[in-house]
């Protein structure tokens, strides 16, 4: 076990706590940069999906994990981003412009959805956002002239400042760069007063208000950022699939995006990434597993949702902090070895809360 001896406030503020952390993140960066060279094309494609879902995960984490506002309508923002991208690309807009527009438009939609969030909480907010999801899904289906309706919309390859993103390896580097930039921005926000305001709203609205935090403004900001990130992910998603149609943005996708952060681990950016890895790899693992299962089980139609649901319930029961929580425990076990105790992470009982704002 190591102790950091702090001599400067800057040590609390800086990005990496110490040299060791710097080393491991450096190693991770090199690993990620080298990965496509070692993997077959198909797996690089899966890595692209993981990166796109990581962007979604970061947005969801900001909203659900840090600000404590649930949303079951995020597929709508994915759709707004995807269709904006398709529409603008068809009209010859450069990728940088259309990506920014996808983010901006989805962000604006996020502000609109954020408005009911100022009054609604918990399950009511979930239902309101879900309704928004249905509205957008329906609008996308009916608005033939822009979205192509049920017959969908084709996309061309990305022209990134003259470089054509014509294979998954290039796509991978593009997404990796975006994830890196977004991650950095999110970390910056969370280590300054805006991020703390989000956390304050999550833990106690009434005292956040007494601390001078403008609840409406910060909830709207959280919704807007989260929606904008999802919109940008939607633009990338559309290009990855090269074809979009309304059924790709239904309620199940919204739910998948929300469960991503619960399984990854609420309240940490690591969790967003872990969740993305989980959501993308699990279906692959299930397909792989099917060969080894008796056909009576392997051929069942609901196999994947069932396993997904069981794992989610398992996490909620046994590891509410998700994959990241488990990771922290394992790391602590080794760094304290042999002094780790079973009860170390047991939650203290919470004391009574005074009357809440409605």
């Amino acid at each position: 076990m190591r102790f950091l001896f702090k001599t400067d406030y800057d040590q609390d503020v800086r990005l990496f706590k110490d040299g060791q952390q710097k080393f491991w993140y450096g190693a991770l960066a090199i690993f990620l940069l080298g990965l496509p060279l070692a993997l077959p094309e198909y797996l690089v494609g899966q890595m692209v999906f993981i990166l796109i879902y990581s962007i979604i995960g970061l947005g969801m984490m900001l909203l659900i994990g840090f600000t404590g506002q649930i949303s079951l309508g995020h597929a709508a923002f994915l759709a707004v981003g995807a269709y904006t991208e398709a529409w603008l690309q068809a009209r010859g807009a450069p990728f940088a412009v259309s990506l920014a527009a996808a983010g901006l438009l989805a962000g604006l939609a996020g502000v609109i959805v954020g408005l009911p969030a100022l009054r609604l909480k918990g399950i009511y907010l979930a239902i309101a956002t879900m309704a928004f999801g249905f509205i957008v899904e329906e609008a996308v289906t009916r608005w033939d002239s822009v979205t192509g309706g049920n017959s969908g919309k084709q996309l061309k390859q990305i022209d990134f400042f003259g470089a054509l993103i014509d294979n998954d390896v290039r796509f991978y580097y593009l997404c990796l760069g975006l994830v890196f930039i977004i991650m950095l921005g999110m970390i910056n926000l969370m280590r300054s007063s805006t991020g703390r305001a989000f956390v304050a709203i999550r833990d106690s609205e009434i005292s956040a208000q007494s601390m001078g935090i403008h609840l409406a403004r910060y909830k709207t900001i959280a919704f807007a950022i989260s929606a904008a990130l999802t919109g940008m992910a939607g633009a990338l998603y559309a290009h990855k699939l090269q074809f979009i149609s309304p059924e790709q943005f239904n309620l199940l996708v919204s739910i998948e995006m929300a469960t991503l952060v619960f399984i990854g681990g609420l309240g940490s950016f690591h969790g967003a990434i872990f969740g993305a890895i989980f959501v993308i790899t699990l279906p692959q693992l299930i397909v792989f597993m099917k060969d080894y299962l008796p056909p009576a089980i392997a051929q069942q139609t609901g196999l994947q949702p069932t396993i997904f649901g069981l794992i989610l319930i398992g996490f909620l029961l046994f590891e509410p902090l998700g994959i990241y929580g488990r990771w922290v425990k394992i790391r602590t076990y080794f760094s304290l070895f042999p002094f780790y105790r079973r009860g170390m992470f047991r939650r203290q009982k919470t004391y009574m809360k005074s009357d809440r704002l409605k």
Binding site: D12, N188, R191, S192, A200, I206, G212, L215, K353
Partner: protein, 254 residues
């Protein structure tokens, strides 16, 4: 001009008159305590002052400025900080982060500066930490600085909440039952801190309290309430010996 003034404030929830025509003034630099039996409307008055409820009638004036009708989050900017009866800390954050959230009204950086973490944001962060560290020093919270609130004992949480309110840099501090749930020793410590806050930091304290030994020890003036109405106002001794107050607490002899 008085420092803080409540003029005939009343609030009704449906047919329930929680507070009726309460008026009082707090002088700068004093400790003013509101006492009263359960349901007297003490916490409601606090919620009125921190603008969580709008009063049905009456005005609240702080340093010559009427605050009734303002948005609740602006109270902190005026220099009014509060604690809560049942502790409303940010549980899934460390003590230091809680104190830093208390510095929110001193925010000087824009969203963009924070997003890119420009030098201005870094300087602001370091300045916030210096200020929070002064409070840590003042309340002797060094030992708990990096612990999560969810794991702290009740007594420490009370102190952390006091610290968070101090981080606002208040001119008027509202303490809602600072000794509730504390053992006699911790209550004693709380009394010392209230005295220090008044003497060393020059902060005016408006307090709701049940523990009469704490009340008589730190308060300059006491207001007794019952059923939302004013009973008695004066020094602690005067109020405690007022027959109306004794009647409100103990009932009338047959």
């Amino acid at each position: 001009m008085s420092f803080f003034k409540a003029e005939n404030i009343s609030i009704q929830f449906g047919g329930v008159k929680a507070v009726t025509n309460v008026s009082f003034e707090v002088e700068e630099g004093e400790v003013f305590t509101i006492i009263g039996p359960n349901g007297a409307g003490k916490t409601t008055i606090f919620n009125l002052i921190s603008l969580i409820y709008p009063p049905t009638s009456g005005r609240i004036i702080f340093k010559g400025q009427e605050i009734t009708g303002m948005a609740p989050h602006r109270v902190a900017n005026l220099g009014i900080a509060r604690t809560f009866q049942n502790i409303e800390l940010f549980e899934h954050a460390t003590v230091l982060q809680n104190l830093l959230i208390g510095r929110h009204n001193h925010r000087s950086t824009s969203f963009l500066e924070e997003l890119l973490f420009l030098p201005a944001a870094r300087r602001a962060e370091i300045a916030h930490r210096e200020a929070a560290e002064k409070v840590v020093d003042f309340l002797e919270l060094q030992h708990y600085r990096d612990s999560f609130v969810a794991g702290l004992p009740y007594g420490v949480r009370k102190v952390v909440e006091l610290g968070r309110a101090l981080c606002i840099g208040p001119k008027l501090l509202l303490l809602d039952e600072p000794s509730s749930g504390l053992n006699p020793e911790e209550t004693d410590g709380m009394a010392f801190w209230i005295e220090d806050i008044k003497k060393d930091l020059g902060v005016t304290v408006l307090m709701v309290e049940h523990d009469m030994s704490l009340v008589s020890r730190v308060s300059d003036r006491v207001l007794a309430l019952s059923q939302g109405e004013m009973l008695s106002l004066g020094t602690s001794r005067e109020v405690q010996s007022d027959p109306k107050v004794i009647e409100a607490y103990l009932g009338r002899p047959e």
